[in-house]
C-alpha cells in the first residue's frame, strides 16, 4: 500500500468533502425548514432545487445571448443568477404547498408524502417539457465563467478552485442569513412558534398559513440557491439530476437532526466528508476489491447507525414520548 499517496491526497479529499458537504447542507435546509415546521418530508424539494438550477442557467444563457455574460463583473452575474434562481424556486415551493400540500394538512402523514412524490414526478417532466420546447434539449450546460475555473495551487497535490470557494462562501452566507432570519427576526419568532404548536400560535394572532407559506418560500429559495451553485460547480444539469442529491441531502438533514439548521450543516458536512473519503480511499485501501461505488452504502449504513443510536440525529434534541 502506498502510504505516501494516502497521506498526500488527504488534504485535497478533505477539501472536496467540505465543498460537497456544504452543497448537501444547502439542499438539506429546504427539507429541514419544512420538516421543522410541519413535520413533513417535502419530497418534491429535489425538483424545487433543480428548478433553481434551470432558472439559473436560463439567466446565464440569457445574459450570454445578449453579450453581457463577459461584460458584467462575474460576482454581479453570479448574484443575479442566484437571486433569480432563489426567487423562482421559492415561489415554486409556495405554489406547490398551496396546491398540493395545504388541502392535505391534518390528513394522516402518508397522504401528503404521496402527494409530494406525485409533485416530484410532475415537476421533473414539466421542466423537461418546457426546456424541450424552448431549447430543444433538456440536458443543459452551465456557461463557463473563466474566473470561476481559476485554481490556486497550494502544493503539488492540493489546489483550490474559485468555484469551490464560491460554493463554500455562498453556503456559509446562506446559512448565516437563515440563522439570523429564524432567530433574530419577528418572522423567525413566528416560524418557531408555528413549529412549536400551530394551534397556540394561531391563538396568539399569528397567521399560520402565511407563516407556512413563508417557510416554504425560504426553504425553496435555499434550494434554488443550492441549484444555481450546483450548476456552477458541476456544469451539467438535467431535470432528473436533482433526485439523487436530494436524497443525499435529505439523509444529511436527518443525520444532523431534521428541523435543526446547524444540524443540517453538520449533517451535510459529515455526509460530504464520508462520501469523499469513501470514494477516494476505499479502492486504495482494499486493493481495488471495493471501490468508490460503495460510498452510498457507507452513507446509508451510517445513517442507519445514527438513527438507531441517536434517533434524533447528531444535533437534534431527544424528544420524550408523552404518555
Amino acid at each position: 500500500m502506498d502510504v505516501d499517496l494516502l497521506i498526500g491526497i488527504f488534504p485535497q479529499v478533505l477539501l472536496d468533502g467540505i465543498t460537497l458537504g456544504f452543497m448537501y447542507a444547502l439542499i438539506a435546509l429546504g427539507y429541514t425548514m419544512v420538516y421543522g415546521v410541519l413535520e413533513f418530508i417535502n419530497f418534491a424539494h429535489s425538483e424545487i432545487f433543480i428548478f433553481g438550477a434551470f432558472v439559473g442557467v436560463e439567466v446565464l444563457l440569457g445574459l450570454k445571448s445578449i453579450g453581457l455574460l463577459d461584460g458584467l463583473p462575474w460576482p454581479l452575474v453570479l448574484i443575479l443568477a442566484l437571486v433569480v434562481g432563489m426567487g423562482a424556486s421559492g415561489l415554486l415551493a409556495v405554489t406547490v404547498e398551496r396546491i398540493a400540500y395545504r388541502p392535505l394538512r391534518g390528513a394522516p402523514r402518508l397522504i401528503p408524502l404521496i402527494s409530494a412524490i406525485g409533485i416530484s414526478f410532475f415537476l421533473q417532466d414539466l421542466i423537461r417539457l418546457v426546456e424541450s420546447l424552448w431549447r430543444n434539449a433538456f440536458n443543459l450546460v452551465y456557461p463557463t465563467m473563466d474566473v470561476l475555473n481559476l485554481r490556486f495551487e497550494l502544493s503539488e497535490t492540493i489546489d483550490v478552485s474559485v468555484k469551490s470557494l464560491v460554493v463554500i462562501g455562498g453556503a456559509l452566507l446562506m446559512l448565516w442569513a437563515l440563522h439570523l432570519i429564524v432567530n433574530r427576526t419577528k418572522v423567525g419568532t413566528a416560524i418557531r412558534a408555528v413549529a412549536e404548536d400551530q394551534a397556540a400560535a394561531s391563538l396568539m394572532g399569528i397567521d399560520v398559513n402565511r407563516i407556512i407559506s413563508l417557510t416554504f418560500l425560504i426553504g425553496g429559495a435555499m434550494g434554488g440557491a443550492a441549484g444555481v451553485l450546483f450548476g456552477v460547480q458541476y456544469g451539467l444539469i438535467n431535470p432528473y439530476s436533482g433526485f439523487i442529491p436530494g436524497l443525499k441531502a435529505f439523509t444529511a438533514a436527518v443525520l444532523g437532526g431534521i428541523g435543526n439548521i446547524p444540524g443540517a450543516m453538520l449533517g451535510g458536512l459529515v455526509l460530504g466528508l464520508l462520501e469523499a473519503f469513501a470514494a477516494a480511499y476505499l479502492s486504495l485501501l482494499t486493493g481495488g476489491a471495493f471501490g468508490a461505488e460503495y460510498k452510498d452504502i457507507l452513507a446509508f449504513s451510517m445513517l442507519i447507525l445514527i438513527l438507531i443510536f441517536r434517533p434524533k440525529g447528531l444535533l437534534g434534541e431527544v424528544v420524550r414520548e408523552r404518555a
Binding site: M23, R151, Y234, S241, A279, A280, A292
Partner: protein, 401 residues
C-alpha cells in the same frame, strides 16, 4: 353516493371504449396491408435523450426509404414504444409488439438489460430485432436467428481501444473509470483485460454511478498520474468527469468508447476534451459525405444534433426496410420469419456507420472501427473530428457452451 360515482366512471370508460374503437382500425383501409417497424427505447426518464435519438434516427430512415415498399402498395409506419429503460416494461411492450401482426421488425433497445429479456419474446415469433446500441456480447452470443445488431461489441471495442492506447498513444499506464452500466463496465473490463495483456499498467479501475461530483475520484487519480484515462460510459457522465479532471489539473490523455460520440461532449466539457480520442463504429461527418448528409438532414428535421446511436438506429431501420423489401418479393405481405431470414442476409454497402452485413450470429461481419480525435471545443464543429486510425475487425466467434 360513492357507488353511483363508481358506476358513472365505469359508464364513461365504456363510452370511451366504444368511441375510440375505430382508432385501432384506422390503418386497415385501402392498401395491400401495413408494414410497421417498431422502435423500443426509453422515451421517458433519465435516459430519454439517448432513447429519443434512437427513435428519431429510425424515423428519419423510415421516412426516407419507405418509398420502395409504398410503391408495392404497402403502407409503412413507424411505431415508437417507450421501454422506460426497465426490463419489465420492455418485456410487456415486446408482447404488445408481437401481438400486432403488422409489425415486422423492431429497432431497439438502448439498454442490454432490457434487450436481453425482450428479445426472448421476439424470438417466440421470429420477429427480427436490429439493435442500434446493445454492445453486450450476450445479445448475439445466444445465437438467435432473429437478433442482430449494427453496433459493435464491448469485447471488440475494448480491444480496439487498448490496441490504440498501446500502439499509437504509447501509453505506459492507464486509469479506467466506468459508469456501472452493462455497457460502460463491459467496455471498460475488456479494455482493461487487453491493456494488461499488452503490458500497460492499470493504475486504477473504478465504477461510479455519480453524475455530477467527481472530485473524490479525481483526486487519487491525479495523484497516480496516469498517461491515459479511459472512461467506459456515455458522454453525459464522461463530459463533466473530464471537465472536472482537467480543472483539477489532471494531465493524462482522455480516451473513451463510442458513448463519447456526441457534440454535447464538447458542449459540456469544452476545452477539456479537445484532442481526446474515442473509438467509434460510426464515421465522422467530416470524412464520410453520407454521414454529413445524415447529420444535416437530422438537424434540419429535428433541430438538433443527432445523439449517439441515432446513426446506428438509422442504419438499423434501413436494414429492416431492405430486409422487408427483399422478403416481400412478389408483392405479398411477408411473414415475420421471412423478414428475419432476409434481414440476416441483407447487405448495406453504404450505411452511415460503414458497410453492414451480418454474420451467422447477427453481429456485423466486419465492423469498421474508427479512432477519432476531438478537433474543437465548438460543439458546432463536432463533425470536423478526424479519423486517426481505422480498423476492421470481425466479431469473435461465440464462446463454446
Amino acid at each position: 353516493m360513492n357507488r353511483h360515482r363508481g358506476y358513472l366512471v365505469l359508464a364513461l370508460v365504456a363510452i370511451l371504449a366504444v368511441a375510440l374503437l375505430p382508432a385501432s382500425n384506422l390503418e386497415a383501409q385501402g392498401s395491400k396491408g401495413t408494414v410497421k417497424i417498431a422502435t423500443q427505447s426509453p422515451l421517458s426518464g433519465g435516459q430519454a435523450a439517448l432513447g429519443e435519438g434512437i427513435k428519431l434516427g429510425a424515423q428519419l430512415a423510415v421516412e426516407k426509404f419507405k418509398g420502395a415498399l409504398e410503391k408495392q402498395g404497402f403502407k409503412v409506419e413507424l411505431v415508437p414504444f417507450d421501454d422506460q429503460a426497465k426490463p419489465d416494461v420492455g418485456v410487456a411492450n415486446a408482447k404488445n409488439i408481437i401481438a400486432d401482426k403488422d409489425i415486422l421488425a423492431v429497432i431497439g433497445h438502448l439498454n442490454s438489460g432490457v434487450a436481453i429479456p425482450s428479445s426472448e419474446v421476439y424470438k417466440e415469433v421470429s420477429l427480427a430485432m436490429i439493435s442500434p446500441a446493445n454492445t453486450n456480447p450476450v445479445v448475439t452470443d445466444r445465437g438467435y436467428p432473429n437478433v442482430n445488431r449494427v453496433c459493435g461489441r464491448d469485447d471488440v471495442q475494448g480491444v480496439v481501444g487498448s490496441e490504440f492506447a498501446s500502439a499509437t498513444m504509447k501509453a505506459k499506464s492507464v486509469y479506467i473509470i466506468h459508469d456501472k452500466t452493462p455497457y460502460g463496465q463491459g467496455v471498460a473490463e475488456f479494455f482493461k483485460a487487453d491493456a494488461e495483456k499488452k503490458g500497460i499498467k492499470v493504475l486504477g479501475f473504478e465504477g461510479t454511478e455519480e453524475k455530477s461530483n467527481f472530485d473524490p475520484i479525481v483526486t487519487p487519480m491525479k495523484a497516480k498520474n496516469p498517461d491515459v484515462i479511459y472512461f467506459g460510459g456515455i458522454y453525459d457522465q464522461a463530459a463533466p468527469f473530464f471537465k472536472q479532471s482537467r480543472e483539477k489539473g489532471v494531465k493524462g490523455k482522455f480516451f473513451g468508447p463510442d458513448g463519447m460520440d456526441s457534440s454535447d461532449l464538447t458542449k459540456i466539457a469544452g476545452k477539456a476534451v479537445v484532442g481526446m480520442y474515442y473509438t467509434s463504429a460510426a464515421g465522422p461527418a467530416s470524412e464520410l459525405p453520407r454521414a454529413k448528409a445524415f447529420v444535416d438532414e437530422f438537424k434540419k428535421k429535428f433541430g438538433k444534433n443527432p445523439e449517439p446511436y441515432a446513426a446506428e438506429a438509422y442504419d438499423a431501420a434501413t436494414m429492416a426496410l431492405k430486409g422487408i423489401e427483399a422478403a416481400a418479393k412478389g408483392g405479398k405481405l411477408p411473414t415475420r420469419e421471412d423478414v428475419a431470414t432476409a434481414v440476416r442476409k441483407t447487405k448495406l454497402p453504404n450505411g452511415i456507420t460503414g458497410d453492414i452485413e451480418f454474420d451467422s450470429k447477427g453481429d456485423r461481419k466486419k465492423a469498421l472501427y474508427f479512432v477519432l480525435q476531438v478537433a474543437s471545443d465548438d460543439p458546432g464543429k463536432w463533425g470536423n473530428n478526424k479519423i486517426v486510425k481505422q480498423l476492421a475487425i470481425a466479431a469473435p466467434a461465440a464462446p463454446k457452451k
